[in-house]
């Protein structure tokens, strides 16, 4: 099994030669599903080059690079990380809608920024280091 880290989750997936995987796993990892038009979300399809398509498998690394997202791997090639494309981050920020997130508090209770809609929020970082 290969470990694939995405900005919000981690997945254990059967792969070969990098990130070739079944369309079902590709959808689980990326949120995009394989259709005749390419890799699709409800609002958008991105055509896949023929070189990234096999018999019942997809090269997720090639697809992710086509989206403009970084694809990096451990030296052993057993752990991969797919990062958010720079354009996607910039577009989200430039829209000025504060990107939502869910993080745990000290007791492990998940808290989402969107729960605070209707209040002004001072969102600040800190660290012990």
């Amino acid at each position: 099994m290969t470990k694939v880290l995405t900005p919000l989750a981690e997945h254990d997936v059967a792969t070969r030669d990098g990130l070739w995987m079944s369309p079902v796993d590709a959808e689980r990892v990326t949120g995009w599903s394989l259709k005749p038009e390419g890799m699709c979300r409800p609002d958008l399809c991105v055509p896949l080059p023929a070189s990234a398509l096999g018999a019942n498998e997809v090269d997720v690394a090639a697809f992710w690079k086509k989206l403009g997202g970084p694809v990096v791997a451990s030296e052993r090639g057993d752990v991969w990380a797919l990062g958010a494309p720079a354009d996607e981050r910039n577009a989200a920020l430039e829209g000025l809608e504060a990107p939502d997130f869910t993080l745990p508090d000290i007791d492990g209770v998940p808290r989402a920024l969107s729960q605070l809609r209707g209040r002004k929020v001072f969102l600040a970082t800190w660290a012990s280091w």
């Binding site: 470990k3 880290l5 900005p7 919000l8 981690e10 403009g68 997202g69 970084p70 694809v71 990096v72 791997a73 451990s74 030296e75 052993r76 752990v79 991969w80 990380a81 797919l82 990062g83 958010a84 494309p85 720079a86 981050r89 910039n90 989200a92 920020l93 430039e94 000025l96 809608e97 504060a98 990107p99 939502d100 997130f101 993080l103 745990p104 508090d105 000290i106 492990g108 808290r111 920024l113 969107s114 605070l116 809609r117 209707g118 209040r119 002004k120 929020v121 001072f122 969102l123 600040a124 970082t125 800190w126 660290a127 012990s128 280091w129």
Partner: protein, 215 residues
């Protein structure tokens, strides 16, 4: 750190969300959080997700978000200043003048937050808020992915491989103090503010470590 501000303003439809960028995990942040006895949210961000989403480079940085969930001030230094750069490293003290200036700058920042909550002052129009956003470059996006991979490798008993990924992340995104300091801290607690940190700070020359907010 923000408890007094929160206590003063909590009845004005206001919330503080303090996010610990802490890859060592919740237990490492716990003593600070318990001591703060805060009524506001104290969240733990082991993978620095917030820094990825909001393109942050240091702590403390703050973003102001209005009632409709819109960013009205882009990420800015949240009350910290560069006076520490002039401190006497042997005694770890600042001159009384620097201490006074530092406190005054912090006070001015907190007063600006108060004014915003009470009257809306200092909220930027959309164009100005947008203009203040630093751009995410492909190198920064890759740095985030490598950092995420590095944190995972470190957390799974592969420290040396994790460090390589984190070093590459810092090389790709040298403006991020958080990436560098978190990696140093994971290597050894205290290293994030050790001699290598000061070397990096000195190498800034005239550039700020905490760019002052443009209030």
């Amino acid at each position: 750190m923000w408890q007094q501000l929160y206590a003063e303003l909590k009845d004005n439809n206001f919330m503080v969300v303090a996010v610990a960028e802490e890859s060592r995990g919740a237990d490492h942040a716990r003593p600070w959080i318990e001591q703060a006895q805060s009524g506001y949210w104290q969240l733990i961000d082991t993978e620095h997700r917030l820094e990825d989403l909001y393109n942050l480079v240091n702590v403390p940085q703050a973003i102001w978000i209005d009632e409709a969930g819109r960013i009205v001030r882009p990420p800015e230094s949240a009350g910290s200043t560069d006076h520490f750069r002039r401190m006497d490293l042997a005694t770890r003290t600042m001159t009384p003048e620097d201490q006074a200036e530092r406190l005054a700058a912090r006070q001015a920042y907190l007063d600006a937050v108060r004014a915003w909550v009470r009257t809306g002052e200092h909220a930027l129009p959309a164009d100005a808020a947008r203009a203040g956003l630093p751009k995410v470059t492909p190198a920064i996006a890759e740095a985030r992915a490598r950092f995420r991979l590095g944190v995972w490798l470190r957390a799974n008993g592969r420290a040396a491989q994790g460090d390589l990924q984190m070093a590459e992340a810092s090389r790709l995104h040298p403006e991020s103090w958080s990436l560098w300091r978190q990696a140093a801290d994971l290597d050894e607690v205290g290293k994030a503010s050790g001699p290598d940190f000061w070397k990096r700070v000195h190498a800034l020359g005239d550039k700020p470590y905490y760019p002052p907010p443009r209030l």
